[in-house]
C-alpha cells in the first residue's frame, strides 16, 4: 500500500486527511477495519469544526480541534469491525459526541479530553443501563460497541 493524500474541499476551506489507499481500491473500502463511512464522517467533522460561537443560539462554543482529534483517534482505536455509522454531533461545550440508536440500544459517548470519555448506554432488550466516565481503560466501552455491532448486523441479516 502506498500513502497518498486526499483533499476534501468544503466551501473555501480545505481539510486534509491522509488515508492509506491501495492500488486495489476495492480492498481498501472492503477492509472491515477501515469502513467507507470514515470518509463521510471526517467530512462531517470538518463541517462541525467550522461552527462559530453561538452556533446553537444558546451560547455554544466552537468545537475544540484538539478534542476533535482525540475523539477520532479513540474511536479508531476501539471500533470493532463492522461498526455501524455513528451520528456525530457537537456539544455546547465544544466537544464531539458519537451516538448510535439502533437494535434496541442507545449508546452515546462524548470525548471530554484525551483521557476522559463520558458514556451512556441503554439496552432495552437486556434491561441494562449505565453511565460512566472512562479514562485509560476502555474495555467496557469497546464491549458495548461490539454488542451494538452484533445486534445491528443480526437484525440486518434477519430482515
Amino acid at each position: 500500500m502506498a500513502d497518498t493524500s486526499a483533499i476534501a474541499s468544503m466551501e473555501d476551506r480545505e481539510y486534509r486527511y491522509r488515508l492509506p489507499v491501495s492500488s486495489d481500491k476495492e480492498s481498501t473500502f472492503g477492509d472491515p477495519y477501515f469502513p467507507a463511512w470514515w470518509t463521510q464522517s471526517l467530512q462531517r467533522i470538518g463541517l462541525l469544526l467550522d461552527l462559530e460561537e453561538n452556533w446553537d443560539s444558546y451560547g455554544a462554543r466552537p468545537i475544540d480541534r484538539r478534542v476533535a482529534y482525540n475523539a477520532v483517534q479513540i474511536l479508531q482505536e476501539i471500533a470493532p469491525a463492522g461498526l455501524p455509522v455513528p451520528a456525530i454531533v457537537p456539544t455546547a461545550n465544544g466537544r464531539l459526541q458519537f451516538e448510535w440508536h439502533a437494535g434496541g440500544i442507545d449508546l452515546e459517548f462524548e470525548v471530554l479530553s484525551a483521557v476522559r470519555i463520558l458514556a451512556s448506554y441503554e439496552d432495552a432488550e437486556q434491561g441494562v443501563e449505565w453511565e460512566k466516565e472512562f479514562d485509560y481503560d476502555l474495555k467496557d466501552l469497546g464491549e458495548v460497541l461490539r454488542i451494538l455491532t452484533h445486534r445491528v448486523h443480526g437484525a440486518v441479516q434477519a430482515a
Binding site: R18, D135, Y136, D137, K139
Partner: protein, 242 residues
C-alpha cells in the same frame, strides 16, 4: 521561551510536532496498524528543540509535550547514568518549565501520560556477526529455528508489548520492545537496534506522580533488557565493562 533557555540551551531548531501517544486498554488496533488520519486545519504549533552547546542534550517542547533527550553523537560518548544525572536533570528542567509557565501566565502542566525510552545498539559479539544471528542475541528468538539449515535466515524484526499494572491490578501502561536490524550510520557497522519504551499514566497528576512512573518504567526496562538478551551477551558486555 528562547530568552529563558538561551543560556543553557543556545541552539534552537524547529520540527513538526509529534502526535500524542496515550496507552489505553481495550484498544483493538494500535496506531501502527490503523490508517493515519490527520486533521489539519491550520498551521500546527511546532516542536522546538533547545540544544546544549555540544548538542548531546536537548529539550523538545511542543504544545502538549515536554521531552528531555540525551544523545550519543560519537562512539566515545558515554551515557550519563540515570540516578546520577538523567533523573536529576529531568526533574530540574521540568520544574523550571512549570515555573516558566506560571510566571508567564500560560497555564498549569497537567500530565496525563509519561514515557521513558532507551535506544540500544547491539554490536556483533559472541557469535553474532550478521543479522541472521538474531537468535544469538535475543533470548525470545527460538535458537533452534534460527539454526535450522532448511531456512537461510537473512534478518528478522520483532516487537512485543507488555502490560504494566499497579499493585491492585489496575491498568497503568505498557512496555514496548522492538528489534530491527540496522547498519550504524557513522561506520556502517552491523547492529540490532533495540528500542525499549515504557509509557503510561502518572501515578498522580503532579511531578511526584510523573517520577513514580518514570522510575517504575526505567526499572522494568532494565529488567526486560536483561531478560530479552542472552546471558552469553551479558558476559561479553560484562567483560567489556571491566
Amino acid at each position: 521561551m528562547w530568552q529563558h533557555y538561551g543560556g543553557k540551551y543556545p541552539h534552537v531548531q524547529q520540527h513538526p510536532p509529534v502526535d500524542p501517544a496515550i496507552e489505553r486498554l481495550g484498544v483493538r488496533r494500535p496506531r501502527s496498524r490503523r490508517p493515519n488520519i490527520e486533521l489539519v486545519v491550520e498551521t500546527p504549533f511546532p516542536r522546538i528543540w533547545f540544544l546544549t552547546d555540544d548538542e548531546k542534550e536537548l529539550l523538545q517542547i511542543q504544545q502538549d509535550r515536554f521531552i528531555r533527550n540525551w544523545r550519543k553523537l560519537s562512539a566515545s560518548d558515554a551515557y550519563p547514568r540515570y540516578d546520577d544525572h538523567i533523573r536529576r536533570a529531568f526533574v530540574a528542567d521540568l520544574r523550571d518549565f512549570q515555573d516558566f509557565l506560571d510566571t508567564n501566565g500560560i497555564g498549569r502542566l497537567t500530565p496525563n501520560q509519561c514515557e521513558i525510552t532507551y535506544v540500544n545498539y547491539i554490536e556483533p559479539a559472541n557469535g553474532f556477526q550478521t543479522h541472521a544471528h538474531i537468535g544469538k542475541v535475543f533470548s525470545i528468538w527460538q535458537q533452534d529455528f534460527a539454526d535450522d539449515s532448511r531456512y537461510e535466515v537473512e534478518n528478522a524484526t520483532f516487537s512485543v508489548r507488555y502490560l504494566i499494572r499497579s499493585d491492585s491490578g489496575d491498568f497503568v501502561g505498557r512496555v514496548h520492545a522492538s528489534v530491527q536490524p540496522v547498519y550504524r550510520g557513522t561506520d556502517d557497522q552491523t547492529a540490532f537496534q533495540l528500542n525499549l519504551v515504557a509509557r503510561g499514566k502518572p501515578f498522580s497528576p503532579d511531578l511526584d506522580g510523573i517520577m513514580q512512573f518514570v522510575d517504575e518504567g526505567r526499572e522494568r526496562i532494565v529488567r526486560l533488557f536483561a531478560d530479552i538478551t542472552r546471558p552469553e551477551m551479558h558476559r561479553t558486555w560484562g567483560r567489556k565493562n571491566q
